[in-house]
Symmetry: C2
Subunit: 209 residues, 2 copies
């Protein structure tokens, strides 16, 4: 468990394999998400820190971008059409914004597990509970490094992430946010090995006049 | 305005161009949505009638189907991974489940309108208000007859619907639902002409023993 008062500026924090974290990211701050070993996915959610009914929206973000795969320069919109985050750097260029976080139901329905792990959904719900977010309020996440490939007929496969050890994506917050991240729990998404995710919160230093 | 107590069984009801409606659909009942003139989209939402926090989920439905384009035989799941509706018949075979309902923001951001129409989003919010649904609770809709074509690089275009006059899709409810429908308000989605949508609620008659 990583509380936001334990998140010193700039320090790189590890989310262990199959775990999650939530923290405050203020307007103007930047969030760097790093894949330390390669081929690992991190599901990301964002809520307005002052009103958790405003939440990241895949449907609006994709609609306004007119493309499925967002990368450097693209904004992530809320359900109220406000920009929550903008992608500033991206060394991978392939992320998913179609699918809900893996969950007990994913493992039951897709993998046929009898005793399913709580998945990213459970990890996100647990991490977000102190901020008043209920499981029903968890929408489709921005799935960092997740590599979904779509055929001409619309069928898709979830393939190994294109991220290599040390790859990262950098976001800038356009409003005060509660952000949640995971080290994804679904075998298929991470090329069948569970690995950690690293992140760091960075504040852009303004030059003294 | 069409209230659910004004929705006699089996009668075909018209939603005028750029309008919306919401009504009760009980478990086992069927909903037929008809495009009377052709090339018209209808955004559909569904909420559990007994708990509106349970709502249709594009992310779960697409994930479990492993495809973007749902048709006959495919279930539409809720955010709790329960089946809300199943597609029983589909004479068109192309619908969208990626994009949020068009809204004032769509018309402002994509079309550059100075005095934007409230769009399907506004029509859905208005129709769902009597059921206690707030605008923030409106997710990505199942956009009946909406024809989104995706290029190899993930960029997409919204093209004229493939539906011809009289085409329909038939759903069966797997739980008691509040359903909302529109006659879509976005020019691009409907081949640049605003048209009505028809629907009918049908109850499957069980044979008398």
């Amino acid at each position: 468990m990583i509380a936001d008062d334990m998140t010193p500026e700039g320090r790189r924090i590890e989310i262990p394999a199959r775990h999650g974290a939530a923290f405050r990211l203020n307007r103007g701050q930047r969030l760097r998400v790093i894949d330390p070993q390669g081929e690992q996915v991190s599901d990301m959610l964002a809520f307005n820190a002052h009103d958790i009914n405003e939440v990241i929206s895949s449907g609006r973000s994709l609609d306004y971008a007119s493309k499925l795969f967002l990368t450097t320069g693209d904004p992530l919109y809320s359900n109220r059409s406000n920009i929550m985050l903008k992608i500033m750097e991206d060394t991978v260029g392939r992320h998913d914004f179609l699918l809900t976080p893996c969950s007990k139901d994913t493992f039951r329905i897709i993998y046929g597990d009898e005793h399913p792990h709580q998945g990213c959904f459970g990890n996100l719900a647990h991490a977000l509970q102190p901020y008043g977010v209920t499981p029903d309020q968890i929408p489709t996440a921005f799935n960092i490094f997740m590599n979904v490939n779509i055929g001409a007929d619309g069928s898709f496969t979830v393939d190994a992430p294109k991220s290599k050890a040390g790859d990262h994506i950098l976001f800038e917050a356009h409003m005060d946010l509660i952000v949640a991240l995971t080290a994804c729990s679904a075998l298929q998404s991470n090329n069948y090995a569970f690995k950690p995710i690293h992140y760091a919160i960075e504040t852009v230093q303004l030059d003294a006049i």
